[in-house]
């Protein structure tokens, strides 16, 4: 069964633990702690308490009536992770790992962030659990996701700007790893996606699986017929909201699964982050997985309108699910994601984050070609407050382009 992975720290060939020796004792300590606490009654009770009383679980599975009518196909449901405290699914993971850090006895917590959502979620968990958070963020992302930068600071987290490489998520992870190597004795690395050396991809998946578990239960209640959804759609950056959505369904062959990557300005343009579509086997951030890289093994610069998907690697479990074709990995360009962002805002009164806007866009395409009595669930992984500036700038640029085109046509 697919749900039995990983086996020996690997998802098929993928995963593993490619790390400097200094990190090995900390990773082994983490693995022991996780094995001990994942089924520990007190740990689970405490996590559930925070998820329900503090973060706002369970989140609704909302039938998007207007969107469904607009598309005119399958029924579209939104899993409302955007309603969680902090505004994204990330808090499912940060509360879980925060409690783990406390059990291990490490009060200093470091994290990387791209969109800033994981940084915010880490800062929140650290505040409420009385831990000290330090967040690495690429300077390019600090500019484009400024609202989240300010939130992290207000929440009491220290921010370390990252100036190296592409100054985005990948480089923030590099810096966080360097910090961890240096301060390994007193520091917990709270990674934000289902990536990194084993056992991180498992830990993050397990904490995020609450998304898929709730979808399953809620769908059964809604349909009264113990029905599974026909299709489930989620966006894939590192892959945490997607694997959390998919994992409870991987052994249900009646459910089609779709992971949507960011195709940026189009795969052919080279300016994208569609790792599973265009990547090749590689080793990054402690794992063997698909990677966007050049012929020599240098990691490529990526692009996406959404900072949270702007990453050249992908979680190792997705690499396996791609190879065995259990999940259909598809992609969505910047323009289509922006359009879905605007559409959902106007049709449903929900401003989605740009990351899940990719999933919404693809789900609409999918719904068109499905029956009206079929159900699609889309994980709406976060809300879009952080993106209003980005979208505004995008619209202005587009307007300018259109004007130019109109002028050219007149000539």
């Amino acid at each position: 069964m697919l749900s039995n992975y990983p086996v020996n720290a690997r998802f098929g060939d993928y995963g593993g633990r490619y790390v400097p020796e200094t990190l090995v004792p900390a990773i082994e300590e983490l693995e022991r702690a996780y094995d001990r606490y994942k089924n520990d009654t007190d740990f689970r009770k405490e996590l559930r308490y925070y998820l329900e009383q503090y973060a706002g679980r369970p989140t609704p599975l909302y039938f998007a009536k207007n969107l469904t009518e607009y598309v005119g196909g399958a029924r579209i449901y939104l899993k409302r992770e955007d309603l969680l405290h902090g505004g994204a699914h990330k808090i499912n993971n940060t509360l879980g790992q925060g409690l783990l850090a406390k059990r291990i006895g490490k009060k200093r917590v470091i994290a990387e962030t791209g969109a800033g959502q994981h940084g915010v979620a880490t800062a929140i968990a650290a505040a409420v659990l009385r831990l000290n958070a330090e967040i690495y963020m690429g300077s390019k992302d600090m500019k484009r996701q400024r609202p989240n930068l300010i939130r992290m600071q207000l929440l009491g987290a220290a921010i370390h700007p990252v100036q190296s490489g592409s100054r985005t998520l990948k480089d923030a992870i590099n810096e966080a790893l360097r910090d961890w190597i240096t301060n390994v004795q007193n520091t917990y690395y709270l990674i934000g996606s289902a990536v990194g050396p084993h056992p991180y991809p498992v830990i993050v998946r397990d904490f995020q699986s609450v998304i898929g578990q709730e979808i399953k239960m809620q769908m059964e209640q809604l349909s009264n017929r113990r029905e599974h959804p026909d299709a489930v759609v989620a966006c894939v950056g590192g892959g945490s909201n997607a694997i959390g959505t998919f994992y409870p369904f991987v052994d249900d062959s009646d459910v089609s699964l779709y992971g949507v990557e960011a195709a940026g300005k189009g795969i052919k343009s080279g300016k994208h982050s569609a790792t599973l579509a265009a990547g090749s086997h590689g080793i990054i951030h402690g794992m063997f997985t698909y990677l966007l890289q050049d012929q020599f093994g240098q990691v490529s610069d990526t692009h996406s309108i959404s900072a949270g998907l702007d990453y050249p690697g992908v979680g190792p479990e997705h690499a396996l699910l791609k190879d065995i074709k259990r999940v259909n990995y598809v992609n969505c360009i910047d323009d289509d994601a922006a359009e879905a962002f605007l559409l959902l805002s106007r049709l449903e009164g929900i401003i989605p984050a740009l990351e899940p806007s990719h999933a919404i866009s693809y789900a609409m395409e999918l719904a068109k070609n499905m029956n009206r009595n079929e159900n699609i669930v889309v994980t709406l992984s976060g809300r879009g407050d952080k993106d209003v500036d980005v979208v505004q700038r995008y619209l202005k640029m587009k307007e300018k382009k259109n004007e130019k085109n109109r002028k050219n046509e007149k000539k």
Partner: protein
């Protein structure tokens, strides 16, 4: 397990044998291939050899060097911008091999550089260019079966790292896969020139030496930048001293004045080597 004597690369083994007969610790000097450019790297290496280095470590630049501090990050970044590739980096080794037939050369890079074209293919190419071994700081022993097997078939050394928090039991597992020499990371941290070291660094060297005994040489690296660092490390049991960022810093600071840069590197290396000659006594 594999027999130590059959492993281990000949050029490295001979060099360490020769030095131990002379009661000297080895000096291993690191440069980033192609920083500031390939011809200059070749000249820098000549100065390093003239200064008295015993082993050359060539860093093949990688886009995401997680074990490296700002100095080597920046040098790698510049080299990549200038178009340095793994192939061009190996040409540097080829060059050394021609000029100094018995001087050991090891490659330091990250696993993905080998993974991209296949470990076996990359190591064969390296062997053809006169390389004697590999240091891959992100290659954990758990992932290394194929790498170690293929390297030993080619008589290439697989140099693994041990750190201050490595347990004696794990160290045994590391040694079982290590050939050439074992690399003790002197600090909790990444590469980068340091002013001073804490006592735990010397403790780490002593602990590793105690487990390793005379099975293979123990090299120490990360942060070493002055002859005064070297003496206590040798007394603690180091058979070899690795210096990287301090050399890369000289290259960066004097990039506008090559003649002076080469001179200063030679003098710096000579001073380091002098410290390796003193105080080294067989245990």
């Amino acid at each position: 397990m594999m027999k130590r004597t059959s492993l281990g690369n000949n050029r490295l083994n001979r060099k360490f044998q020769e030095l131990s007969e002379k009661n000297e610790a080895a000096l291993i000097c690191y440069v980033v291939a192609g920083y500031p450019n390939i011809p200059t790297t070749n000249e820098i290496l000549s100065s390093i050899v003239k200064g008295g280095a015993d082993v050359i470590e060539i860093g093949i630049p990688f886009s995401d060097p997680i074990a490296d501090g700002p100095t080597i990050q920046e040098a790698s970044y510049r080299a990549l911008l200038a178009g340095v590739t793994p192939e061009k980096s190996l040409e540097i080794s080829k060059n050394i091999r021609k000029k100094y037939p018995s001087l050991p050369v090891v490659i330091m890079t990250y696993s993905n550089i080998l993974q991209r074209v296949g470990f076996e293919y990359f190591m064969k190419k390296s062997k053809e260019c006169g390389v004697d071994g590999f240091i891959l700081p992100d290659m954990a022993i758990e992932e290394s079966d194929k790498y170690v097997m293929e390297a030993s078939e080619l008589d290439l050394a697989t140099i693994f790292l041990a750190s201050p928090n490595t347990t004696p039991r794990r160290l045994e597992a590391i040694l079982a896969r290590t050939s050439g020499f074992v690399y003790v990371v002197s600090v909790y941290g990444i590469t980068g020139q340091r002013r001073s070291f804490e006592d735990y660094s010397l403790t780490a060297i002593r602990n590793v030496k105690q487990v390793v005994g005379s099975r293979m040489p123990v090299a120490v690296g990360f942060g070493i930048s002055s002859p005064s660092h070297i003496k206590p490390m040798i007394r603690a049991g180091a058979d070899a001293i690795i210096v990287g960022s301090a050399i890369v810093n000289i290259i960066r600071n004097l990039s506008g004045n090559k003649k002076k840069m080469l001179q200063q590197i030679e003098v710096f290396v000579r001073d380091l080597k002098k410290a390796c000659r003193q105080n080294y006594l067989l245990p």
